[in-house]
């Protein structure tokens, strides 16, 4: 099957193309060089100067796993109010902030997204997450394994095991859980909470193991680096949401000591304590640190006004914010000597000083961080708001007048406490293409996604160049996934199967004996049963494997 897209204005930053008028050729789901004359074209689309980008990739979105199901059950009112009947190609479902699997795949595809990664897969819940991801249609998926509060890792570190042992343990766990990257969530904090610690600072020794979050974080960052994983350690730091945590975040950046790091939902970690209310923006300080640290990337975790539900492995923090739950109910779990989960519904209000300032802090971060290759568009779905708000966010970034109009509507003191009004920057289409396509693909090591050069998967999105960027990004004219037209004018037209991506680094298998003993003696499941085999992924299709850096 040969497809030609003619007369597109191509934004393909990975291949140095910005508003380049070019044809794109596709053969059997892959982008190829232009064929010789006389080659039959099966399908031709004259784009008449419309904009063409690769499919977008969401680097951090909670789409599957136990905490999402818990959130769906807790948010029963929302689900009753947001039932989606079956229509056209789409099956029925429900939910906006915690959509059901079919709705998740369709809504992403309808916005031009062709991949989304679940950033908090617990080892003990990984099989569930994969079973659930298999039911998310169209888009590609993958999961980041949460480590850093698991008793075996802490035990190994406390015993002073060598970095090679830690590396092998991380490699074993990553492989056994079919993961794409390693994440740490409040390192040591989730474990400390099980010993009744309600707070743990970066340099505070935790209970039982006597380890500081700094020590755990650096050990994991090094293991990720030594394994050659494409994506750096994905860090949800200490003290999320706590005024003054900007200092912790800057210290965390310092702790990496030159190792690559990705700080996630950095908006929630950029709070200072100035002003009468002891709550102010630390965005400028964080942005400055990001700008001068080339080994660092961040995603923002922008908040969006309205009802949502926060779901996180960070039980320590979630237990602390539970009294603010709206509606007033929440769920918490300690999980399998591994991690935990906390689910707290929340409504962000533009007339609340704190929420309004959070909104402004997120936008300040986007606009003050200079390099679009190192800042990603996220709402930490659903924690800051649903992923369906990305088009609105893109408009806020690209359209200063619109941004000022919105700024005028929020809590007046909050708008007085932010520099947002004085920031003139408007993102360009090329920068949006970097931030939502080329950069996430590069960061995750997805060599054939996020670009439109020969060999790339034919994830092709065609947009009308509308002045209202929200409308433009909400309803792309056409979305192709692996060469198949899946959405047209913001409606799903074909429901295809997605793939799940994993990384397979090399490591010394001998660690398997240590892991097996731990599972036998403590966890009550045999390690060989804990490990997920390839034929369990995507209903037997198996994963798409990626090598470590330097591997094939």
């Amino acid at each position: 099957m040969r497809i030609r897209f003619r007369n597109g204005r191509v934004y393909d930053p990975a291949n140095g193309r910005e508003d380049a008028t070019a044809d794109i050729h596709v053969l059997d789901g892959r982008v190829v060089e232009a064929p010789g004359p006389g080659e039959r074209i099966d399908e031709e689309h004259d784009l008449g100067g419309r904009i063409v980008m690769p499919g977008a990739i969401d680097i951090h979105s909670h789409i599957a796993g136990g905490k999402m199901n818990l959130a769906r059950m807790l948010m029963s009112e929302e689900h009753h109010a947001t039932i989606v009947p079956a229509e056209g190609a789409c099956l029925c479902g429900s939910g906006i902030v915690t959509p059901s699997t079919h709705v998740t795949g369709c809504r992403y595809a309808e916005m031009g997204y062709t991949a989304a990664f679940e950033p908090a897969m617990l080892g003990s819940n990984a099989r569930h997450a994969h079973l659930e991801m298999a039911d998310i249609p169209i888009i590609d998926t993958g999961g980041y394994l949460v480590l850093g509060s698991d008793d075996l890792l802490l035990d190994l570190l406390a015993r002073g095991e060598r970095p090679e042992t830690i590396r092998d343990y991380v490699g074993w766990m990553l492989t056994a859980t079919q993961s794409m990257a390693i994440k740490t969530v409040n390192p040591g904090g989730i474990n400390a909470f099980k010993y009744n610690a309600r707070r743990l600072d970066l340099d505070e020794a935790g209970p039982r193991y006597g380890l500081t979050p700094r020590a755990i974080l650096t050990a994991l960052a090094r293991a990720v680096h030594d394994l050659g994983l494409p994506h750096p350690l994905h860090v949800h730091g200490c003290n999320l949401g706590v005024p003054g945590n900007v200092a912790t975040t800057l210290d965390t950046i310092g702790a990496a000591a030159g190792l690559p790091l990705h700080l996630t939902h950095v908006q929630f970690h950029s709070y200072d304590t100035e002003g009468d209310r002891r709550f102010s923006s630390g965005a400028a300080r964080i942005a400055e640190a990001v700008n001068r640290t080339p080994t660092l990337s961040v995603d923002v975790g922008q908040i969006v006004f309205g009802q949502t539900v926060t779901a996180s492995a960070d039980t320590m923090t979630q237990r602390g914010t539970a009294p603010l739950a709206h509606p007033r109910k929440w769920a918490a779990m300690d999980i399998e000597c591994d991690a935990g989960c906390g689910v707290v519904p929340f409504r962000y209000r533009d007339k609340s000083f704190v929420n309004a300032l959070q909104w402004a802090i997120g936008l300040e971060l986007f606009l003050l961080i200079e390099d679009p290759w190192r800042v990603f568009l996220t709402t930490d779905h659903p924690n800051g708001g649903p992923f369906t708000s990305y088009p609105e966010l893109i408009r806020l970034l690209m359209d200063r007048d619109y941004r000022l109009a919105r700024l005028a509507e929020i809590h007046p003191e909050a708008s007085a406490h932010t520099t947002l009004g004085s920031i003139a920057r408007e993102y360009t289409l090329a920068e949006i293409a970097i931030m939502t396509r080329a950069a996430p693909a590069r960061s995750l090591g997805l060599r054939d996604r996020g670009h439109l050069g020969p060999g790339a998967a034919a994830d092709v999105v065609v947009y009308d160049d509308l002045p209202d960027r929200r409308a433009m990004f909400e309803r792309p004219r056409m979305v192709f996934k692996d060469g198949v037209l899946v959405a047209r004018d913001g409606r799903t037209v074909t429901v295809t199967k997605g793939s799940t991506h994993v990384v397979r680094p090399g490591f010394d298998d001998a660690i398997g004996r240590v892991v097996a003993r731990h599972f036998e003696e403590r966890i009550g499941i045999k390690a060989k049963h804990f490990a997920i085999s390839d034929d369990e992924i995507r209903g037997g299709d198996g994963p798409v494997r990626h090598g470590a850096r330097g591997q094939g």
Partner: protein
């Protein structure tokens, strides 16, 4: 003859994965299970019955044709039982969406007692490995769970408290229930005591503990238990919702959750619901991720309706115009019959007590084919394997066959296409 070691058991939700089962031709027999339920479950022979339509022997294709014909013209079918692996449940949900049916698990009553509390106030719970390694005070509320979860104490309570400081000891308190002889045997060496109900019911007893925690009503066993909870490092309060008295079960569970949360402000304390027989937990999980709603959800009219009361199988079976009942994990046929035709997918290979309209023997996950089931704590999904080949189709295969047959004829109307 083959001896399978380290076999995983899909039955009661405890997830034991250390069984030894012998397979010989079409026969499996337990060699080492340490469990009476598993002993029965893994004792299988060649199936005694084949597919039947209206009591007459049929081929699998004929039986699937007959099932498709009956379900295809239904307008308010029930797809119940759902004692199947994850792939079987997925296929059941797809078929339900195709014909506009209502889905429920045969053992969901216990699940919904817990869900009602989760949805009203929330949920603070833990999982089996945390209990095993960290819990120095376990309070079992209500009846001893051992009859339904035979190895609970052996696997999750008797092992050493590995993650507490040396010298920490575990205590087990039965509140309003008494340990069976088996439970006592499994708990040999553990400090076990009983707090009987002082005249009232479980919610009263828990209310007394909560009052004592706040400094009211200072004497007696309630006060002593309040002190123990306060002084424990990591308390766990467990209950088996299916074994609680139907009336007031909700109230008891809600009271437990409130108590857990009050203690958890002082020291650590979590709840632990026990349940999940025949993959009830997996059926619910798949239904939640596929629809956004728990079980007891209808697909009628191409949309979703969830009603934990009116759409329970016990209610709906009297109103439905056809019922498909799935019992691959051996939970058996429903104890009520629908007015309309009953199509039974049965995993035991034995004669059902009454003749359904269509009978299709199916394989059992963990015996005939691999599959996934959820553990009772809802976090861990287990993969079970295949031990023998008895030529039985999986639930997924049969349901996909039925759905394909319905898809190939024009819909009767009303349902999603």
């Amino acid at each position: 003859m083959a001896l399978h070691e380290d076999v995983t058991c899909p039955l009661c939700g405890l997830g034991c994965d250390d069984l030894a089962i012998e397979a010989d031709g079409a026969t499996t027999s337990p060699v080492r299970t340490a469990c009476a339920l598993a002993d029965g479950f893994f004792r299988r022979g060649a199936p005694a019955v084949g597919p039947r339509v209206a009591g007459k022997a049929a081929t699998l294709d004929e039986a699937m044709d007959a099932a498709a014909e009956r379900l295809g013209r239904s307008r308010s079918a029930l797809i119940g039982g759902l004692a199947a692996d994850v792939d079987g449940i997925r296929a059941a949900l797809s078929l339900a969406e195709r014909i506009g049916a209502t889905v429920d698990h045969g053992g969901s009553a216990a699940l919904f007692r817990n869900l009602a509390v989760l949805q009203r106030t929330g949920w603070s719970v833990t999982t089996f490995a945390e209990l095993r390694n960290r819990c120095d005070l376990l309070v079992v509320v209500g009846p001893d769970p051992t009859p339904r979860h035979p190895r609970f104490f052996e696997r999750w309570v008797a092992p050493p408290l590995a993650l507490l400081p040396e010298g920490a000891r575990r205590r087990v308190v039965f509140l309003g229930g008494a340990p069976s002889a088996e439970a006592r045997q499994q708990l040999a060496g553990v400090d076990v005591s009983e707090v009987p109900l002082a005249g009232g019911d479980l919610p009263d007893a828990i209310a007394a503990i909560r009052a004592a925690l706040r400094g009211h009503g200072a004497e007696g066993p309630a006060a002593a238990l309040a002190t123990e909870l306060r002084e424990a490092r990591y308390g766990v309060i467990a209950w088996s919702a299916g074994q609680l008295d139907t009336l007031g079960a909700d109230l008891a569970i809600e009271a437990v959750m409130r108590l857990v949360r009050e203690v958890d402000l002082i020291t650590r304390c979590s709840g632990l619901p026990l349940g999940g027989m025949a993959n009830a937990m997996g059926a619910n999980q798949v239904c939640v991720w596929r629809t956004g709603f728990p079980l007891r959800t209808s697909f009628a009219g191409g949309t979703l309706r969830h009603d934990a009361g009116a759409l329970s199988w016990e209610h709906h079976i009297a109103e439905c115009d056809a019922a498909l009942w799935i019992s691959a994990l051996g939970a058996g046929p429903p104890d009520q019959n629908p007015d309309g035709p009953l199509i039974l997918l049965c995993g035991t290979g034995e004669e059902p007590p009454t003749e359904p309209d269509v009978l299709i023997p199916v394989g059992t996950p963990g015996i005939d084919h691999p599959g996934h089931v959820f553990r009772g704590d809802a976090v861990v999904a287990l993969r079970v394997g295949a031990l023998v080949s008895r030529g039985l189709p999986s639930v997924e295969t049969v349901l996909q066959g039925i759905e394909a047959r319905i898809a190939s004829v024009p819909a009767a109307g009303g349902a999603a296409s």
